[in-house]
Every structure is written in C-alpha cells, then in structure tokens.
Subunit: 413 residues, 2 copies
C-alpha cells in the first residue's frame, strides 16, 4: 500500500498565488481571421485604425431641403423665404430636396427640415432659418481616417460589429478561442440517464465544465469518462494535451489512493501546485504537460465548478485577450446573518439575494458539504470571506459576485 499517498494536504497554497502561477504559465493565444458574420462575442486582436472617413461624404441628417444657409436668414412663419426647388446643384435662391443620409448636394451648406417648410408648387417657403452646417453630418464626423476606433482586447458586441461593417471590414482578426479538453475520472461514473448500479453516479462534471468553458468564450472538447486506472488516464491526458490548449481533469485530484491525476501530471510534465486555500475547491492541482496547462479539479461538482470559476476562468479569459479576472457582475448587499469561517481559508459563501426594507440582502445558504450542487443552483452568487477573517457579522456590507447566466439576479442588480 502506497502509504505516502495517504498524507492529506500538507499545506494549501493561497488562491491568489495559485492564480498568479496559473496565469504566468500561459500567454495569450494567437489571432485568427474570421468573417464579420461570426465576430459577435469574439475578442478583437489588433487595435483598429480606421482606413476611411465615415460618413464618407457630407450628408443630410434629416429629410428636407438642401440650401445655402444665407438664403434662409431672417425666415419666419410670417416672413418665409421663397426658394426654387431644382435638381442637382444648389445655387443662390435654390433648394434641392434631400433624404436623410443622402449626400449633401453641391453648393449647399445646410439642410432645412421638411417640417420647417411649406411646399408651393415648384417652390418652397422656408419658415425657420438655418446656420451653415445645420442638419449636415459632415464627412468624417463619426470616424476619421487613421483614428483608433477600437482597441485590441475589446470584446465585439453589436456596436463594435456595426463599426467594423461601417469601415468595410468583411473579415476581422480576433483572438483564437482556447480549446479545452475535458475529462471526468472515476470508475463509478456513468452517462447521465444510464441505469445506475450500486455506488454508481452520473457524470456531472463533463457537462457542467463544458458549459463553464463556453460561458467564458472558449471551446469545450469532451474526452468523456475515464476509470481510475493509471494507463487509461495516461492515454487520455496525452490525447487531451494533443487536442486542447488547456486540459481539465475532474476527480482524483485529492491525496487518496485513487487520486492519480496530480501525480501523473508531475511525472509527465511539471506539477506546479496541489492544494489551494479555497473552500470548497481546495483539492485542486495544476501543472503543465507538453507545454499545456493541466488542471486537476475536485470530483465533487460544486467544488469542481468553484475551482473552475476561480482558477480556470481567468486563464481562459486572459488567453483570449480579456482581463484575467472572473468577469462576473458584482452587486453590494448586506449580510442577513452572521457567517463564521476558518482562518487560513478563503470561503466561498453562496448567497441568495433578497430585497427587504428597500435594501438588498445576501442570505447565506446552509450548505453541508462540497458535494452540494444545489447550493449553486439555489444561490444567486457568492461572496468571499478572506483568509484572515473568522467572522462576518450580520448587517455587514459584502460584495456579491453573480453567477454567469443568472438572469433573475439582474432584477436585483
């Protein structure tokens, strides 16, 4: 019996330090060129300097008549200025009909809104004067040639995609999305929906991790389930590092006899740390194999997702050029009851948000173990009790981070 494995964690690395090691292990990914149609939600690689002025010509901002502004001076309801409606060029005493967005006719320097005119056959009466430039959107007013319009690292939303279209970019260079190999280990795991024998449970983490990976813009590659067998795990780890930019192995990350993953990472590459002062999520290991970051995450599903949120998510974001943080929305709330914590651990306290007496309160859920997945689905988010804090008192203000996709939490935000 390999007694040396029966050691428990000797020490837990501080989670901030663990994250620093994770982030320093991998840089940003390179660019890829994609069609504009696929750019939504992707992250721009280069700063974008405008190749052109936009609008590319002086244009009318309204429906009306292009005029020489000086022809309208002194106009009023009782002293209309009469102008002759012509096609083409605007000369003195002339006006040309123009639609919103269309080029300003030559010779004109302003547009009178149609509402401020009266049509009289082939003439109009101008009822309100305009100054030069009025109702004209000048060439380059929106964007000037050479101007830095978008910075690299910007996630592309509707307006950014519109801007790219506006500047004629049919293709766009974006950060490549990290491909993430996901493997669940444990001889007791079965496909969800399969009939379960004694001691068997469904594979949860393959599914929840795939969604977690997608939710930060990366691409999950499911490697399926693997029994607690060294040879098989070794083959899958090799496959994972070959196919993915990052590997997530869930289960077998602790220090028991069946916890093969961290040791294997150490043998095949480098084990950077094993054990983090995060609760839940402590039994997490991290290393590099074949130059690729490999995470050994706890098998218990709540611990697995929390570890992923704190250590994997910032890495996947930074690899795509985003800030290396969790990127979750935050709200302030008052704690509805006292929470006790252990010194030395960062406690991830799952809370439900409620409005009461015109204030937002964070109600800690009563959670019995790190296996408790319902502590995540029943919560709106979490706050952290730092390692040097033993008690957070009732009524104290806490900063709650909201789970991704938690739409009902927006109600409180």
């Amino acid at each position: 019996m390999p007694g040396s494995r029966w050691r428990g964690f000797r020490e837990y690395l501080r989670v901030e330090e663990a994250l620093r090691l994770v982030l320093s292990s991998s840089g940003r990914l390179g660019p890829e060129e994609i069609p504009l149609e696929e750019a939504c939600g992707r992250v721009l690689f280069d700063d974008l300097l405008s190749p052109t002025d936009f609008p590319p010509f002086d244009r009318s901002a309204v429906d009306g008549y292009a005029v020489r502004a000086s022809d309208t001076f002194g106009a009023g309801e009782n002293s209309p200025r009469r102008l002759r409606v012509v096609k083409g060029r605007v000369g003195p005493g002339k006006a040309v009909e123009v639609m919103t967005g269309r080029p300003l006719p030559q010779g004109a320097d302003a547009v009178v809104m149609v509402e401020h005119t009266r049509r009289r056959g082939r003439e109009i009466e101008v009822l309100t004067p305009v100054t030069p430039g009025k109702n004209v959107s000048a060439r380059g007013e929106d964007v000037k040639r050479g101007e830095r319009v978008l910075e690299g690292g910007r996630r592309l939303g509707p307006q950014e995609v519109g801007m790219l279209a506006c500047l004629g970019m049919k293709k766009v260079r974006v950060f490549r999305r990290p491909r993430v190999s996901i493997l669940s280990t444990g001889s007791e795991l079965r496909e969800p929906g399969e009939r379960l024998g004694r001691g068997e449970i469904p594979d949860i983490n393959s599914y929840s991790l795939a969604c977690a990976v997608r939710s930060c813009g990366a691409l999950p590659l499911g490697l399926g389930r693997c029994p607690d067998e060294r040879g098989e795990l070794e083959r899958r780890l090799e496959e994972g590092t070959r196919k993915g930019d990052v590997v997530l192995i869930s289960g077998g990350s602790s220090v028991g006899k069946e916890d093969l993953a961290p040791e294997l990472v150490g043998e095949k590459g480098e084990l950077v740390f094993h054990g983090v002062n995060l609760r839940p999520g402590g039994p997490t290991a991290f290393g590099r194999v074949g130059g690729k970051p490999v995470f050994c995450l706890p098998g218990f599903p709540a611990a697995c997702l929390i570890s992923c949120t704190f250590l994997v998510r910032p890495l996947l974001r930074s690899m795509q050029g985003l800030p290396p943080d969790r990127g979750l929305r935050k709200v302030e709330a008052r704690l509805s009851r006292k929470v006790a914590s252990s010194l030395g651990r960062v406690d991830v306290v799952r809370v439900r948000l409620v409005e009461r007496g015109g204030e937002r309160w964070a109600e800690p859920l009563r959670v019995t173990g790190s296996g408790i997945l319902s502590s995540l689905t029943a919560s709106d988010g979490f706050f952290l009790v730092p390692e040097d804090t033993e008690v957070v008192e009732e009524g104290e203000r806490v900063e709650v981070e909201l789970w991704d996709f938690r739409d009902r939490a927006v109600q409180h935000g």
Copy 2:
C-alpha cells in the same frame, strides 16, 4: 408627390407604452427538446421536479475509514482506539477503507478522515472521535426525489446543466429560440468592403442587428439588403414573416418619401405605433403582419441599435421565457457634468465610466447626431433622462446600464 407623407411625426408615443404594446403583441414561444450538451445558455421550459434522490446512496465525503461512531468515542492522540481493517461490512471493532464519494459500507454510520488515523498493519488507530453521520453525505442530502430543483424560465448555466446531468436528464425541454428575420433597406447600401460609389455606404445594420439578436439568445436570419422599392420590400417582408418569428427592417422607418416600411406594415397587417419618444431611436414603427411582430427601425446605426435595445430586446427575452426587460447590468455613478435634455423625450445619454477620487463617475459623450456609431463604441453604457426632466446636474447620481459584452466595464462594476 405624396405630400401626406411629408408630415413629420405628429406625436411620439411614450417608450414605456410602446414597449407595453410590443410585449402584449406576442406571447412566449413553445418548447423544444434538445440534448443536454446543447443546453448551455438556453432557458428551461418546465419546472424541474427531481425524479430521484441525489446522492442516490449514503456516501463518504472524505477519504478514510468507515466505522461505527461509538467505537471511536474517547479516542485521542494519547488514547487511540484500535480497529481492525476489513472488507465489506463494518461490525463492532471493525473499519472499512473508503474513498471520497463511494458508498458508505453497510454497518457503518460515520467516516474517520485518513488524516485522523495511524495505520498499523491490518489495524488502524483512530486519533479523533467521530459522531454518527460525521463525514457522511446522506442519500438525498443534495436533492430529494420530488423536490422542485429548477423553475421554468431559468437560464441554464454551468450549475444548472450539472444539476440536469446529476438527475439523469439526457434531454431537456427549453424555450425555442426566436428566429429573427433581418432586412436592411436603402438603395444606397452596399456590402461592407465593396467599392463605394458616390452617396453609397456599407450596410451596417444587418451586421449589428444580427449580433444584437444573438446577444439576447435569439437566432438571426439575414435577409440581406433591399432597395427603396415598394414591390421588392413587399416580397422581402413576406419572406421575413414566413421564415421568422419576428421581423426587423432597418431604414425607411421615418416619415419621408422613401420611408415605405411603416405604411407597408399597415397595409399588409396592422401598424400599432409609429414614432416613439426615445432619443435617439424616435423614428421607430411597430406592427404585425401575418401574426408576426414587425419592427421598422431607424436606418442610422446608433439610433437603430438603441431602438433595438429598448423595444426588440425585451420582446426577444420574453419570447424565450426570460424577464421582459433589457437585462443589462447596472451600476451607479455620479454625473461628471450637467446634461440638458428636452421635455417630452427620453434621452439615452451615452457615458464613459471613470474612477476618480475613489468614486465612479459617468462622463457624457458629446454626440452630434443619431448617426454617430462611435458614440456607442466609445461609451461603456448609458443612463436615461426621463421625459419630465430638463436638466441632470453635475454630481447627481445616475444609474448606468452597461452595454452587453462590455468586458472592460466589469472593471468598474
């Protein structure tokens, strides 16, 4: 010349009332069944009652030895209790080795953590007593059979997907995603990247609207560009209502001669409103054709996206079972300089967020017109000046809604 079209907007409908009409025009879509692998980000249709207990059996929460708790009473470093390690059933004075997550052996009622034992050949010394139930995760502790685990209308994130796997749901019923037909009108429009003749500009809205539609979980169907010709517009409108659940037509939504869309909607179905007291975004029309909601959005890209954010986005969310709001994250900030507004209009003031003196400030962008797309890309979000307010003073607190996808804004959140 159809002079009647040259009328300007007689009145603008209040945007809240416009939204109420939009939302009352269409109910939620029906369900579809999808594989669990595709559930991430979708919205659950039915309440989910658990078909099973989870965990499905009493299991160990740690690596260690399953025991009868009473056998450990009085144990200590200097008074260890000796137990014989056996396989199978735990009888008096016996212990069975057990791994995290594995079923609790018969006869045991607690687990001693391996760290609290010393191995002596075929015996262990227990150094710390345990109470009954200690380190045991009981059957149904996480989820009980028949319990309502998730409510319909919940967006499925990593933990919800994990929960579905946990309960053996290989397939899941979710709200169908709205299919949204998108059509840009305007004879001056060209494909982005095409060489532009005089007066021509790239089609921006087809791309920005497709991304806006995706960003609220719906599916864009690009119908391309359409010149300002009645016959062609009529054909495309028919195609749009046939293929989509919702139709977005951008351009030609005002009251000029070339603004064909609202009139056509009225002729082919029902025009519900035309003109909203939103700025930018006022020239928006809405109606129903063939039972499908049809929006005529302004052609100017910033106005188009803002109108979409205020009127289309809540509809697309509600059709998928989400709250019928914009669903954007909000932060408080102080206004860095006075903003003037017009009575009767809801002004969408685009702002940049900055930290200064330990406070978050909203700096209004100087915007000259509704064509200004860079006012959206340069801003972090917006706040609203209500219709009954003429001035918001420097230093006042405003609630800023952040653009979707604006990752850098999270830094401030």
